[in-house]
Symmetry: C2
Subunit: 239 residues, 2 copies
DNA sequence: TCGGGTATGTGCCACAGCGTACAGACGCAG
DNA sequence: CTGCGTCTGTACGCTGTGGCACATACCCGA
């Protein structure tokens, strides 16, 4: 009988060849990741990296005045803590659990040792980092040019892609913090989407009813990120 | 008598230990980089990487409707073409010369071979990439929360940091394309700065008269990027 | 069952930025 | 010196979003 938890639910771990995976496996520690957990603080040294399986992690920048903006989002497709192997050990951003679930964590030293060998893990993590860079770049573009409603669509789709069901637990207030807009703006945009029958929500539960229509309404940013992620992280790793 | 052109004007090349630098040196090709040169197209395979010395390169995303937004800027502090060693070979962005000058380019294969050895060059490029990530993330934040005038200040300071003089050749129209705003918005913001005696400009020449006051008026984004770049790329590389 | 906290809906005003149009101002080529 | 193209300045209305205030709806626990 298979365990409900398996590190290979994370796509990066799943893409590793068996021998490299075997090196990491004894060190992978299953951790619950409840909503709101702070994985990294701004400027703090990274002690563990996290491979989410069912949780979703949000990378945020918090401004001096307290308002915030989401930079990128990480789910079972990725890893939180790239500054470790990029060599900086910390970033000015924070990482917060946006959707509760589980993940596997690894002590910094273990990952670094394996990364330094320069084998498949390194290639994989660097390609993933490039996908993350694309996501950040597109976030910048979207923040510049697109309306709140479109950004909400993008955000919903990015979350949906990282969840097993089409229901997400997330208040409008939290979404507003992620997007860096007013809560009322989210209320209004979500009202439109609900009126059009694309979603249903009530008190922190959002259900996506019609994903195709959502994709029809989103800005090009979503597709750019999706296409690039698929390209970079198709299971066949090309060297 | 020293040549006016020296690869070590580029800080990444300058930070390399002599033996690794020696491997690259025979392959480094001095190239003029006139204003507007397209170094990479969206999705095109990277054939060369560029180490600017006196030129400045802008990484842009161009939307389907033709409008654009700057993602990050690269000068003598960096390298254009990170997708090569990150493993993706291409990105959805373009790279354009924003300020004319020179740089050294290297064939993709040469850089990749040296990068794969996993020595100082690799560490250096990855740390630089992290600095670039910070710049992108902060661009996203700035686009979300800050006014055009502050973004103009940030843009001027980022450019100034990568130039030898305090004069930049750049029409307001071009700046507007970079920032992804209207030309009139730049005119207005620049008018304020000129009235306050911070800058002087006329027909494509902008002279910064009072940098300290410019730094006083810029949003926190500039300092975040600067601090992180300095931290990651101080000449002593820590392993 | 009732109360209090939380989540959502709505309205109002202010204003920055967009789209558009057009008027100077400057510089270079002829 | 003249004319034309380019760059910069200014004005107008419009809309999306921010800041604020408050009303309603829902849930959970006492």
């Amino acid at each position: 009988m298979p365990s409900p938890h398996d590190p290979r639910q994370n796509h990066l771990l799943a893409a590793l060849p068996v021998d490299e995976y075997a090196h990491l496996l004894p060190h992978l520690e299953l951790v619950p990741m409840p909503l709101g957990t702070l994985l990294y603080e701004s400027g703090a040294k990274v002690r563990h990296v996290y491979f989410p399986t069912t949780a979703i992690v949000s990378l945020l920048y918090v401004m001096e005045n307290g308002s915030s903006a989401e930079i990128a989002v990480v789910g079972y497709d990725g890893i939180a803590g790239i500054s470790l192997f990029m060599g900086g050990e910390s970033t000015p951003n924070i990482a917060v659990v946006q959707s509760a679930g589980h993940g596997y964590r690894l002590k910094a030293g273990v990952l670094l040792a394996e990364f330094t060998k320069g084998l498949d893990l390194q290639h994989l993590l660097l390609r993933y980092t490039q996908a993350l860079i694309t996501q950040m770049a597109q976030t910048a573009v979207c923040n510049r040019h697109h309306a709140v409603e479109q950004q909400l669509c993008r955000w919903l789709l990015l979350s949906l892609d990282r969840l097993p069901t089409s229901e997400l637990t997330m208040t409008q207030d939290l979404i507003a913090n992620m997007l860096g807009v007013r809560r009322e703006g989210v209320t209004e945009a979500a009202g439109h989407l609900q009126a059009a029958g694309l979603i249903h929500y009530s008190r922190g539960k959002i259900t996506v009813l019609d994903r195709p229509k959502l994709e029809a309404r989103v800005c090009e940013c979503y597709a750019v990120v999706k296409r690039e992620s698929d390209r970079l992280l198709s299971d066949r790793i090309s060297h």
